[in-house]
Symmetry: C2
Subunit: 261 residues, 2 copies
């Protein structure tokens, strides 16, 4: 099942279920009770919104070996592969939806993409074992963890480098059925494939992150956990269009534009 | 004016205005429109709730010179005083209200308090100068940035050390008028004063943090920004009661308890 959050002029936001090119609108949300409204819309007639605004926005950070090596080389640091599934954070202000613009700040010098699998939590969870961890997952969407690499070297936290407004595209929808073992992540810039990796090639899997996190932290319905990226990105410029595709979910597409002076 | 968020059995959550020992309940919130309901309650008859659940939970981190020196000595690091007002983050899962228990995990070894001024944002803000920065502030409350120091040394992020469930008491209410220059922060453990400092003795002030943050990031109504702490804390044990008092706001009091096996 494919959950979409959308808006129409004068009608506010609603959730619906995607059926081919159409949306079956519901009353309520996938995180609590919902019921059919009888209203159907064409996908092409609505604005797709961020699929959920999380209460807490978790991110695995470094979780694919090639990316960790490349990251260390770039910063001139030793390769330091994480030994535990330690979660990090991103900020809600930076979220934008499928097709919304990523704004490159006037003083940014090296903006890159990071195509990521995003896990959407469906129920309150604490102290889950790895075996039961996936029982709290509603489904999967796609994230682009846009990063400014020169700021990432000098910022004391990720506040600017990762959390500048518009730096966190997420969408287009939440897919509840995913064959993770078969999934490939493909990133295209202006239609040309620039990065491709097996989505499941993570250092620590989804169940490991959920089990480790919930030893200390309660996950809530609507929380999201981005699972990290592999490979490297070219430096992006205004006018570029970045597509992150994960097989079985869909395509998250965002144009990159210059900040207006 | 003093805004409180409270609940009563069978009546859900509401905002109200504190008048001495009584609360004038409103319909709506201090972040948008509100109107009087005519209902009055005794403060002693309600449960005080976290004054706001922020969309994004900002924290200044190291922002008082004595605390920075003490922090560096403890970690065996060079004293590294921040040169810019760079914001950090805490997580919403960890919030608890005035009088709610802070649960010390079974495997925690060194839990400490950090008494902090918490700024509550009242309106959407981007690109504010220092001169106009305080115009987006609704008021002030109190935070206790409870920290596990041994985890803080080894965790790759602050996920456990700062964001374990119940580690972020905030309250008891939002005071809209504060003479910051006159304010003192006092922390007491079991009634004995253990830390005291001038609240305004920050390395970077509130206006500097808001101006620097909003160059890249939009602040939203209900966001909070915790301003850091000074001095040091004893190691806390189950049974301790910690009070953080900021003159002109009030007292945030929380018992510390052991995790149940």
């Amino acid at each position: 099942m494919r959950w979409i959050r959308f808006s129409r002029p004068g009608a506010g936001h609603a959730y619906g279920i995607v059926e081919g090119e159409r949306i079956r609108e519901v009353r309520g949300t996938p995180f609590d009770a919902y019921e059919a409204t009888g209203r159907m819309h064409l996908l092409s007639d609505v604005k797709i919104e961020v699929p959920v605004v999380p209460r807490t926005f978790y991110a695995a950070g470094l979780n694919y070996v090639h990316h960790i090596q490349e990251h260390a080389e770039r910063l001139g640091e030793k390769v330091n592969v994480p030994v535990r599934a330690e979660i990090g954070y991103r900020a809600v202000n930076a979220l934008v939806a499928h097709e919304e613009a990523v704004v490159i700040p006037a003083d940014a010098t090296q903006v890159e993409y990071e195509g990521e699998l995003a896990v959407v939590i469906g129920r309150k969870a604490r102290d889950l074992s790895e075996a039961e961890a996936l029982s709290c997952v509603l489904g999967y969407t796609i994230g682009n963890d846009v990063s400014e690499r020169d700021w990432q070297k000098i910022d004391r936290t990720f506040w600017r480098s990762k959390n500048t407004d518009t730096f966190k595209p997420m969408g287009p929808w939440i897919e509840t059925e995913l064959d993770l073992e078969a999934a490939q992540t493909t990133v295209r810039v202006n239609g040309t494939t620039t990065t491709q990796f097996r989505t499941a090639d993570m250092l620590f899997g989804i169940a490991a992150f959920i089990a480790e996190t919930t030893r200390y932290i309660t996950l809530y319905p609507g929380d999201v956990m981005w699972m990290g990226t592999d490979g490297k990105s070219p430096t992006l410029s205004p006018g570029d269009v970045v597509e992150v595709e994960i097989g079985g979910i869909g395509v998250l597409r965002n144009p990159f534009v210059a900040e207006e002076g």
